[in-house]
């Protein structure tokens, strides 16, 4: 594959993740974008194009929410694009930003992800339910937890994974989240497996502590072409690979135990990055973890573990932040330990890998040397995988 320009990441920004933010969506977007520009040492005048990701308009109650947000995202009087693939959006936005620059058309692109889920009162459950098929599914009295609990049970049953093992993901991520300066109040913590398994049964096998919370927050990344990046930094972090894939909406016709679309997205990214053996060449990973089992499901889809093996590696500490022989997974704390403002949470995954590769992740920094890392998000009706690989 040849693209006219290599693409570098120059800076990242995040707001705190909050159950209810006082800031408006525009203000949240601005804070994250400003922080990313500051880290890059750039101003909005250096930005040629802007990509925005945020949930469908019904979440915010603002029609043309992308246009509403444009000013806060730095998009006014600039080529501006909004995109959305559910939970996969945060990483998808980076992919969109990547091809703005890889095409050779722009020198720089600011990618902003914003989500304010608290405006939907009392919570956005009703909007979530509208993802189900309106003819064959919604009349049954659906809720969003159903698809996750159905997928989780299928995964657990096919691979015979005990609930206690899956709870270890929540234990790890909620503990990692204690070190994240953006973590939402009350969600990180040092929990025992018993506390997680015995927390309120929401939709068996999903218990309350195995679910990420709804949040408000924003994130941003500044991307630049190789030509531009080399003028402003002597240590650019590169986007080495991108991949994305969408499977059928007929989700009841698929075997949910394995996310094949995540595998396809990962293979696309590995091929582009020239990665032959991801288990050796990926040094840190931020897989999407809106539910505890999802992290394991995704680690397998990313080919970082054989099918059904991610839980066994988890028991051995292979995915721990301080592992020396394994691959640290969600050292940030992820969605379970930091919060889940949907599009912003996906972008956080990329921001964290950027800081990990740069070596500035602070208390979240992996113990082993990190030259390359992978961020992945997932979403829509159990159907989309988005992958970005960053490296030195």
């Amino acid at each position: 594959m040849h693209f006219p320009q290599k693409v570098a990441v120059l800076g990242a920004g995040l707001t705190k993740f909050m159950r209810r933010a006082q800031e408006t969506p525009k203000e949240l977007a601005f804070e994250a974008a400003k922080m990313a520009l500051d880290e890059a040492g750039l101003t909005i005048d250096d930005i040629d194009a802007v990509v925005l990701v945020t949930a469908p308009d019904a979440f915010d109650g603002v029609h043309m929410n992308g246009e509403y947000l444009a000013d806060g995202a730095g998009g006014s009087k600039k080529p501006y694009m909004r995109s959305f693939v559910g939970g996969g959006s945060g990483v998808f936005g980076i992919i969109n930003g990547w091809y703005h620059i890889a095409s050779g058309h722009f020198r720089t692109c600011l990618v902003v992800a914003e989500e304010k889920m608290s405006s939907s009162m009392p919570h956005p459950q009703g909007t979530f339910n509208a993802i189900y098929d309106q003819f064959t599914e919604r009349p049954l009295g659906v809720n969003l937890l159903w698809i996750f609990s159905l997928e989780m049970n299928r995964y657990m049953s096919v691979h015979k994974v005990p609930l206690e093992t899956i709870a270890l993901v929540a234990k790890k991520n909620k503990k990692n989240g204690l070190d994240h300066p953006c973590t939402q109040a009350g969600i990180a913590g040092d929990y025992t497996v018993e506390e997680i398994v015995n927390s309120e049964i929401m939709c068996w096998p999903v218990t309350r502590l195995m679910v990420s919370t709804v949040s408000d927050g924003a994130g941003a990344l500044v991307l630049a072409s190789e030509d531009f990046a080399k003028k402003v930094t002597d240590k650019p972090i590169w986007i080495e690979g991108v991949g994305w894939c969408l499977d059928t909406s007929y989700w009841t016709n698929r075997d949910l135990y394995y996310p094949k679309y995540v595998e396809y997205a990962a293979r696309m990214a590995y091929d582009m990055a020239g990665i032959k053996d991801p288990r050796k060449e990926i040094h840190v990973v931020e897989p999407y973890d809106p539910f505890a089992y999802k992290e394991l499901h995704h680690l397998e889809g990313l080919l970082l573990a054989d099918k059904g093996e991610a839980p066994k590696l988890l028991e051995k500490g292979f995915w721990d932040r301080d592992t020396e022989t394994g691959i640290p997974s969600s050292p940030s704390g992820g969605l379970l330990g930091v919060g889940n403002p949907i599009a912003a949470a996906g972008l956080m995954k990329v921001a964290e890998i950027f800081w990990q590769v740069k070596g500035t992740a602070g208390k979240r920094q992996a113990k082993r040397e990190v030259k390359r890392g992978l961020a992945q998000a997932w979403g829509d009706l159990m159907q989309v995988g988005t992958v970005v690989i960053l490296g030195k």
Binding site: L14, T15, K16, F17, M18, R19, R20, A21, Q22, E23, L28, E31, M35, E39, G61, M121, H123, Q125, G126, N129, Y132, D133, Q134, F135, T136, E137, P139, L140, G141, V142, N143, L145, W146, S149, L150, E151, M152, N153, R154, S157, P181, C182, A185, E200, I201, M202, C203, W204, P205, V206, D216, G217, T248, Y250, T252, N253, R254, D255, L256
Partner: protein, 176 residues
């Protein structure tokens, strides 16, 4: 690095500690069921489950569609399926559609329908075979598992309206 954000509490709205503005919307939609699903729902009215077959890959799919999304060719035949199948996966839900909690759970499941191709499931509910309502998680887990055979329980024919809810639920059945 300094991370921005001012956190509010639910009570800040209730007690009006902050300034806010609110807006209510009542949205109403009506969707015609389209070509494939209209025939499918007509079938449900008669107590029949129809799938649709693809001449290219040979799959019999349910829910039916007028085109095969894999071959990207028109499907060409209606196939009468059985009103029974096997549980592909299930869960035990203590949460209602509006996120309020249920005292007794219900059981959503993906049910692979007999007569359709392998892996062709639909979403529906599984009820207790005698008392309909499930008592608790333990009772559900003692009676059903992945692979359990289930059969549709239909509304009386005069109450059917051509909707997925014409099947009230599925119940586990004993294997011969």
């Amino acid at each position: 690095m300094e991370f921005k954000g001012k956190s509010l509490k639910d009570r800040d709205f209730k007690e009006k500690n902050i300034l806010y503005t609110d807006w209510h919307v009542k949205a109403h939609y009506a969707w015609d069921c389209g070509v494939a699903l209209s025939k499918f729902f007509e079938g449900l009215k008669e107590g029949k489950l129809y799938g649709r077959s693809c001449p290219e890959c040979g799959r019999v799919v349910i829910p039916p569609r007028m085109f095969c999304e894999l071959c990207f060719k028109p499907t060409d035949k209606w196939v009468l399926l059985k009103d029974e199948g096997r549980i592909n996966t299930f869960s035990v839900s203590y949460v209602n559609t509006d996120a309020s909690r249920r005292e007794k759970p219900n059981v959503p499941a993906v049910i692979e329908i007999e007569g359709a191709s392998e892996g062709m499931g639909i979403l529906h509910l599984v009820a207790h075979p005698e008392k309909i309502e499930w008592e608790n998680l333990e009772e559900v887990l003692s009676m059903i598992k992945i692979g359990t055979k289930v059969k549709a329980v239909w509304k009386p024919s005069n109450e059917r309206e051509g909707a997925i809810t014409d099947i009230k639920y599925f119940v586990p059945v004993k294997e011969e």
